[in-house]
Amino acid sequence: MKILVCISNVPDTTAKISFVEDNKVYNKNNVQFIISPYEELALTRALELKEAASGTITVLTVGLQDAEPTMRKALAMGADDAIRVNTEAKDAMFVAKQIAEVAKNKNYDIIFTGKESIDYNGSQVGEMVAELLDIPSITSVSGIDVEGTTGKIQREIDGGYEQIECEFPFVGSGQKGIAPEPRIPAMRGIMMARKKPLNIVEPVEFTDLTQVITHTLPEAKSACTMIEPDNVGELVRLLHEEAKAI
């Protein structure tokens, strides 16, 4: 079984968010980067699937050299090798094009992405990769087992779950539940990571389809007002006069 896990290098969830260059560019200064959590969970499940059967796990990132620490973390978690497409990750189509280009002749059985990266939350890359490779795309994968060359997949749908089966190859975008918790790299994994291949490939040319005009930070959260349970009148008044919600 050959699995490709596409990971993105995103700011730590507690990082301070600010922008530079006229609010066009995210300010990476002093920010710690991590593997985007849904992809980390997908990678964890991929490792379990490999350990239960056999096979190889490759991780892929579209990013510059500063993405390598998170890639080596993926190797420390247990991936066998890594590929970095040497370009800044731009919009979803650009990233999908780069992934598809790497994957097209490699015969991966499963390609995992996250259901979204937690920085720009585009939720498009997995589907686009599937389309570009002309293979099925399964979104919101919250559980997966493999029997032979068939994926047995649980998808989260509104209010419940859907069980589906899909023959290899396919793209699955992982979400919460695909693995209970991300795997913590063990000492042995960390020490092996430096000996594993991290291959760098140059990007294919592709013109971005979108441009970022500006970013705006959300307004600071206002304080929560507590109202006694028996004071419904006050709740109605506040909703009407202050929140102007009714």
Binding site: T14, P69, P185, M187, R188, M191
Partner: protein, 594 residues
């Protein structure tokens, strides 16, 4: 050019160090950071959600957590690869210990397992002993404890009465005795037990397995803090210890005990840095959430002062502990090169820097006590509630000033070891001290007014060293052999040395960081340095004056007073604004971010 590399413990008292020659934590590499992160992830997953269960001593839980840490390889970080460990450097081991420091009772169990539990056998065991026990300790299959203290032998460890007598057939030592305050005692499989053979004056060490006949335990001690850590009395009643389980040579036990404690001390010094950082996070989280008078309390100057001071002490402590750790790492590498195979290079490395190990333990544990005390204060009424994290941190901190040698014993060690190392001729403390004594009747200004920012700090530090040398030399001149009876004066000198070492380490770190990252990126670090030097100057002055007023008289006292005041004079600092800037960066990010 003057040689500025530190090559032995205590030498910092007389030698100027260049910023480029120290290690700073910003230089940790990617792999080391990954190990740190794995420790943190482990705490987030296994420890922090279970703190109450751990403190309730849920049966089997702590033992299970030790095993889980073992599965991740965290118990074998410093164990050589040939014994199934990961052979990491001392610095890396220290970094992992910092991360684990944020885990309250678990940190104590972890330190006992990987430090005093494993190291006596690793460093003093013969090949068979090592092969038998160490790989299993590194994976957590075996839990370990260290049995030194007895009801009547605490700080005076060699006065213990546990006794081992060779059996008639010469195959066993029959061990009898009582040990107390044994960390991990409730579940440890392997114990390093210190006892005297026959009527020896000096302790020997034995490897004892807890399932041997005659080993029994008292119930868990009820403690003020670290409630989740297993602490027991252990009794040895005619325990048959096979002769091959004597650790090291007969009579070597006391040396083993002391040498293992040097390492334990510096590790504790880094452990408390991790504990301080999490306590600051809790403090600032609460201060940013809690509103009074219509504002977050983090907007008030009184609270900012506390947050800033917590951060200053933590950052300073961290600077000093990693500086010394690198010195020890270098000494270990050097010792390995010149090894005669008789002594362990790791032991040599840390024993060489025993002055630093002791002072880092004292400074770090007292810094943490400040941090957790003010954390409880920032939480206000909620700080007194056992539902809030300030409570556990406050109670758990207190033990750090007591174990691994009380801070009083460690203060005596600081002065004693610095002087003894010099008397052995390893560095010229007294030559330098005499030079300074010759200077004090004709003092010249510390600054000439043309110094750069860092030159000025370095000159202050050089002058602080002179204040210390004057105090030490005059103390020895007046008190001579009576010195050891004057513990109060030893404490004063010790405090001067502690403050100096930390201040110098901080100054060197900020200077090196400036070279690495540029002026703008480190402005908060310069605020920290400004405030710390300003505070330390007055502390060193006070301790110096306390000391000399305790033994000098007349003209001599006048000259010494003048000298100490001269050497501890520093320029004024707007500490209020500097502290506000330090606090504001932490408040803005809602976490310790230095």
């Amino acid at each position: 050019m003057e040689d500025t590399k530190i090559t032995t413990g205590g030498e910092f008292l007389i030698k100027k160090t260049e910023a480029k020659d120290i290690f700073i934590p910003e230089e940790f590499d990617e792999e080391q950071r990954m190990i740190y992160q794995t420790c943190k992830d482990f705490l987030d997953k296994e420890i922090h959600p279970n703190l109450d269960r751990i403190d309730d001593q849920e049966p089997g839980l702590m033992r299970d957590l030790i095993s889980k840490a073992g599965e991740l390889g965290l118990l074998g970080i410093s164990v050589p690869e040939e014994l199934d460990g990961f052979g990491q450097s001392f610095l890396t081991t220290m970094l992992a210990n910092e991360a684990i420091g944020a885990s309250y009772s678990f940190a104590v169990a972890f330190m006992a397992q990987t430090g005093i539990g494993t190291l006596p056998i690793l460093y003093y065991g013969n090949e068979e002993q090592k092969q038998k026990y160490i790989p299993k300790m590194a994976t957590g299959e075996l839990a370990a404890a260290y049995c030194l203290t007895e009801p009547n032998a605490g700080s005076d460890a060699n006065s213990g009465t546990s006794k081992a007598v060779l059996s008639e057939d010469g195959k066993h030592y029959i061990l009898n005795g009582q040990k107390m305050w044994i960390t991990n005692g409730g579940f440890a499989d392997v114990l390093t037990v210190f006892a005297k053979i026959d009527n020896d004056r000096i302790l020997s060490a034995f490897i004892v397995e807890n399932n041997w006949e005659g080993v029994s335990l008292n119930p868990e001690e009820k403690k003020m803090g670290i409630k989740g850590s297993s602490t027991r009395q252990i009794f040895f009643n005619n325990v048959k210890v096979p002769v091959e389980n004597l650790l090291g040579a007969r009579g070597e036990g006391f040396r083993i005990a002391l040498n293992i404690l040097h390492i334990g001390r510096i590790k504790l010094g880094v452990n408390v840095v991790g504990a301080s950082k999490i306590a600051i996070n809790h403090s600032v989280n609460y201060a940013n959430e809690r509103k009074q008078f219509g504002k977050q309390i983090s907007s008030f100057g009184a609270i900012k002062h506390k947050i800033a001071q917590q951060a200053i002490l933590t950052y300073a402590s961290e600077s000093a502990v990693y500086r010394a750790s690198k010195n020890i790492d270098d000494a270990i590498i050097e010792a390995k090169k010149n090894s005669d195979g008789k002594t362990n290079a790791n032991i040599e490395g840390s024993a060489k820097y025993q002055t630093e190990c002791a002072l880092l333990k004292v400074f770090g544990s007292e810094a943490l006590d400040y941090v957790v005390d003010e954390s409880a204060q920032i939480f206000g009424g909620m700080g007194f509630s056992a539902e809030m994290p300030a409570d556990r941190a406050y109670r758990d901190s207190r033990i750090n000033r007591i174990f691994e040698g009380t801070n009083e014993i460690n203060r005596l060690i600081i002065v004693d070891s610095a002087i003894k190392t010099a008397q052995k001729g390893e560095y010229d403390l007294f030559g330098k001290a005499k030079e300074v004594m010759a200077e004090i009747n004709n003092l010249s200004p510390v600054l000439n007014g043309n110094e750069s920012y860092y030159e000025e700090k370095q000159k202050y530090i050089a002058a602080f060293k002179k204040a210390i040398l004057v105090t030490i030399q005059s103390m020895m001149d007046v008190l001579k052999r009576k010195l050891s009876f004057e513990q109060e004066i030893m404490m004063n000198v010790s405090d001067m040395i502690i403050q100096l070492y930390v201040a110098e380490s901080l100054a060197l770190r900020v200077e090196k960081l400036n070279d690495m990252k540029g002026d703008e990126a480190i402005s908060i670090k310069k605020d920290i340095l400004d405030v710390f030097i300003y505070d330390v100057a007055s502390e060193i002055r006070k301790f110096g004056l306390d000391a000399i007023n305790s033994f000098a008289e007349g003209e001599n006292l006048k000259t010494l007073t003048n000298a100490i005041e001269h050497f501890t004079k520093v320029g004024g600092v707007n500490t209020k604004d500097a502290r506000r800037r330090i606090a504001d960066t932490i408040i803005e990010e809602n976490k310790y971010n230095l």
